[in-house]
């Protein structure tokens, strides 16, 4: 097992290298440069030249890439072009918000997705099955943007249950330690702040969870249906085991394996930052940061951001593989 983890971790390096090369050279062939965008309408040839010189954009591409690699090896992601801040600090300021949101959304979608999937599978072709399957179809096709606005109109403006946007109230005092606000509130035993954070995260997490929830529930349903037809389930039934025991002790263990892959993949995607959800709910995460970096051609943000997204995706995948082995020891890790 330990060897497996080491090998998988090392295999991550060429993946990341590949990702950065692709991103870097795709940027290079995309027209427009940060100097032009920084200076806008008022740019003159002289001011552009001075800015390009300063930003190091005049050096040939492979040298720029080499410099980037050299820095990365030294665990230095450089400094952003626009905000003139260390990329690592920019990430530290935003990534916790993204992880927090992704985690809460994944907890919601995994729990309800698996639950709905199981019920649908055991009660195939019942009204619940139809409702939940049509519901999940709607869930996957719903634009988050629109859904977010509807949630706001309903739960914030009309009912007043939840705040509309942001991560924490303007008047709420919270001593920030880890930048995971929920954790910070718990550490400092600041219960009013915890409540405020939970209320703020509710709507974006709910909106963000719809698509994964739909996917997870459909996956659970089909996987469970397959397992429930297996011989050993018949045997269990013949033995006279109760239905609960059959489902949760025998069927679920096997049925969950493909579901875990899906959950892992979805979580990995969410860690890249949910650009739309972050934009609608004014959630200060990495997704919007990276998107703006692309629009503004902030090469440092793009490089650092892609590296971050790729790394977290690969790590999540690794964790999923390990989890496989834990759930089903028959799956070999060799």
């Amino acid at each position: 097992m330990f060897g497996f983890i080491i090998r998988r971790t090392l295999a991550v390096i060429p993946t990341l290298l590949g990702v950065t090369i692709v991103v870097f050279f795709m940027l290079a062939i995309t027209p427009g440069d940060p100097a032009e965008l920084l200076l806008g309408e008022r740019a003159t040839q002289e001011s552009l030249d001075a800015m390009r010189e300063y930003l190091g954009l005049k050096k040939p591409l492979y040298i720029q890439y080499g410099m980037f690699l050299k820095r990365v090896v030294q665990f230095d992601l450089g400094e952003t072009i626009w905000s003139r801040q260390k990329v690592s600090i920019e990430i530290k300021e935003r990534f916790p918000a993204t992880i927090e949101l992704a985690l809460v959304a994944m907890v919601i979608s995994s729990f309800f997705g698996v639950l709905f999937g199981i019920i649908s599978a055991t009660k195939q072709y019942s009204w619940f099955d139809y409702v939940s399957m049509v519901g999940s179809l709607i869930g996957v096709s719903m634009p988050v943007f629109w859904l977010g606005l509807i949630f706001m109109l309903l739960f914030s403006l009309t009912l007043g249950w939840f705040p509309m946007s942001g991560r924490i109230g303007i008047d709420t005092n919270l001593q920030v330690i880890t930048n995971f606000y929920i954790i910070d509130a718990i550490i400092t035993r600041n219960w009013p702040a915890l409540m405020d954070c939970l209320r703020h995260i509710a709507l974006p997490a709910l909106a963000l969870s719809t698509i994964p929830l739909a996917i997870v529930s459909r996956m659970t349903r089909s996987s469970m249906l397959e397992v429930l037809r297996q011989d050993y389930i018949k045997t269990a039934k013949a033995k006279g085991l109760g239905q609960m025991k059959i489902i949760f002790k025998h069927a679920l263990r096997n049925g969950l394996i493909p579901v875990i892959t899906v959950i892992g993949l979805q979580f990995g995607i969410l860690l890249g930052g949910a650009i739309l959800t972050e934009t609608v709910f004014a959630w200060p995460g990495v997704g919007k940061w990276l998107y703006e970096g692309v629009v503004k051609r902030d090469y440092m943000v793009i490089q650092g951001g892609t590296l971050l997204v790729a790394t977290s995706f690969v790590i999540v995948n690794l964790l999923v593989d390990i989890l496989y082995a834990v759930i089903n020891p028959r799956i070999s890790v060799k």
């Binding site: 440069d33 003139r84 706001m152 303007i170 919007k288």
Partner: protein, 536 residues
């Protein structure tokens, strides 16, 4: 009868007293300003975007201020100034007893430091011990684009409260430039302590002091209790700038009470704001211009009649009504009507397709025959002066079609658009572009945008000797009355020769909560919260 009069007097007295009472600013409260994006940085010398400047506007101050709602100059951190007869030496007399938020006294040396750090060659002299000015982080953009290195020769502190600026040339807009954000005075001690972090820990003399910045979320400022001009404010205890990127969400936040002022709402939300009893609107004609330029470097566009044909063919009113959705006005001249020097007598191009056809024939292309297909460059991004460049482009090619001119839209991503436009390539015939004014000086529009003879980097390469001479004259004349006459004449020249087609000035309209008192929009787009208070 006398009794009735007495009652009447009493009523008038109470009503006016009540009004006066209602208008007395109340202290305290937190105002949340909702905006579309976060600041990039908070060092006024290096910033280039509105979201950064609006925070700087409240933390820092400059030697001179723009008056409320106009760009006329009034004393700021300098209570007065003298200009030498030759127009080349400016002596600023500074206010005494002003302190930066970190306790550093504001004095002549602070001015020398703040402005001097932007100079390429630091030709400065401190009165006291002064400071070593750290190396520049990057080219100070506004300083460079306002050509300040060609203007300012040296800066000298004569005593603790007198600063001398010696200019290399006579430059009439100089004083107006000193009111711009880049010329804000910063605390030298705070800067020297950590030059790299100053943009995240700004220290100035303004009505509010910086407290904290949560990236992409909010910036919190707090009342500066020691502000020097207590007669004007500040009244608010706290001022929060919140970034809410999505326009409709920002407006919903305003409706729900989460924010007090909503910057740049969707035009469609304005009627809703009008209906809402808890909201009101502020409006201000923007100091900007969206225009349609010609590629004057191409032989085709040396043809005056053809330029006239285009000007008469385009229905600018329809564009303003439908695409600006009423949040703008058709431009009569390239400078906004609120600016001094605006020429009322220039008629502006009238929409007249029949006349356009006549011009077209006069140009040698009757009914558009033999005229090659024209490329119309349209902007891919919304700008303050043009909400939707592509839609404007579509409307224009429709108008041109009606008189027999066939044209098509060309667009690039914004960076490429700006870059290629400057090169005046052959595949560009007409282009949309625009400008938001910096300092309220007509020179900042008329010379910077249209005097192609002044420099190759002027985006409209329109070459007109008479216009060029007027622009030079305007810069070298100090008297504002005389300058106004010069610029009026220039607008006439520009109009007659159809150097450019001004399209529209956009109007800024923002909804805000009824409780927000005394909030005014400024033509320079700066956001000033000094005298704003909350009627709670």
């Amino acid at each position: 009868m006398p009794r009735k009069v007495l009652v009447l007097i009493a009523i008038i007295f109470f009503v006016t007293a009540g009004m006066a009472l209602a208008q007395t600013p109340k202290q305290g409260g937190t105002l949340v300003f909702g905006r579309g994006g976060d600041s990039v940085g908070l060092d006024p010398a290096y910033e280039t975007d509105g979201n950064s400047f609006m925070v700087c506007d409240n933390v820092f101050e400059a030697l001179v201020f723009y008056k409320d709602e106009t760009t006329d100059i009034e004393p700021g951190l300098a209570h007065s100034w003298d200009i030498s007869p030759d127009g080349k030496t400016y002596t600023f007399h500074l206010r005494k007893g002003v302190k930066f938020h970190d306790g550093t006294p504001f004095n002549a040396d602070a001015v020398v430091f703040s402005i001097g750090r932007m100079m390429k060659e630091r030709n400065v002299k401190f009165f006291g011990k002064g400071w070593d000015i750290p190396k520049q982080e990057r080219p100070p953009e506004y300083w460079v684009s306002m050509e300040m290195d060609d203007t300012i020769g040296s800066i000298e502190a004569v005593d603790d409260y007198t600063v001398l600026f010696k200019l290399k040339r006579v430059e009439a807009p100089f004083l107006a430039n000193m009111g711009m954000d880049f010329a804000d005075i910063i605390s030298p001690t705070a800067f020297v302590k950590n030059p790299k972090e100053f943009l995240r820990n700004p220290v100035g003399t303004g009505p509010f002091r910086f407290i904290k910045w949560v990236k992409d979320d909010n910036i919190t400022l707090e009342k500066n209790k020691d502000y020097w001009n207590k007669g004007k404010g500040p009244y608010l205890d706290k001022l929060v700038f919140r970034a809410i990127p999505e326009n409709s969400v920002r407006f919903l936040e305003l409706k729900s009470g989460g924010i007090h002022i909503c910057q740049f709402p969707n035009p469609a939300d304005i009627p809703m704001a009008k209906k809402d009893a808890s909201l009101k609107l502020v409006s201000q004609p923007g100091m900007n211009i969206g225009y349609l330029g010609f590629n004057h470097t191409k032989a085709l566009w040396k043809n005056l009649a053809l330029r006239k044909a285009i000007a008469a063919a385009i229905n600018r009113k329809a564009i303003v009504d439908n695409i600006y959705q009423g949040m703008g006005e058709v431009a009569q001249n390239p400078i906004p009507p609120t600016m001094w020097g605006f020429n009322e007598d220039v008629a502006g191009y009238a929409y007249n397709p029949e006349q356009a056809k006549k011009y077209l024939a006069e140009a040698g292309y009757p009914e558009g025959k033999d005229l090659p297909e024209i490329t119309l460059w349209s902007m891919p991004v919304p700008r303050p002066y043009n909400p939707e460049g592509l839609k404007v482009g579509v409307a224009m090619i429709g108008d041109l079609k009606k008189v027999g001119i066939s044209s098509r839209i060309v667009s690039y991503d914004w960076g490429t658009y700006l870059k290629r436009q400057r090169q005046q390539p052959d595949d560009m015939d007409l282009f949309q572009l625009g400008w938001t004014g910096d300092n309220g000086d007509p020179d900042n529009f008329l010379a910077v945008l249209f005097d192609g003879l002044a420099s190759e980097s002027i985006r409209t390469q329109w070459h007109n000797e008479e216009y060029h001479k007027l622009m030079q004259q305007g810069r070298q004349t100090i008297d504002q009355g005389k300058r106004a006459e010069i610029y009026k004449q220039a607008q006439k020249v520009l109009f007659d020769d159809v150097g450019v087609i001004p399209i529209a000035h956009s109007t800024v309209t923002w909804p805000l909560h009824k409780s927000v008192m005394n909030f005014k929009l400024h033509p320079t787009a700066s956001i000033r919260m000094l005298s704003v208070w909350l009627d709670r």
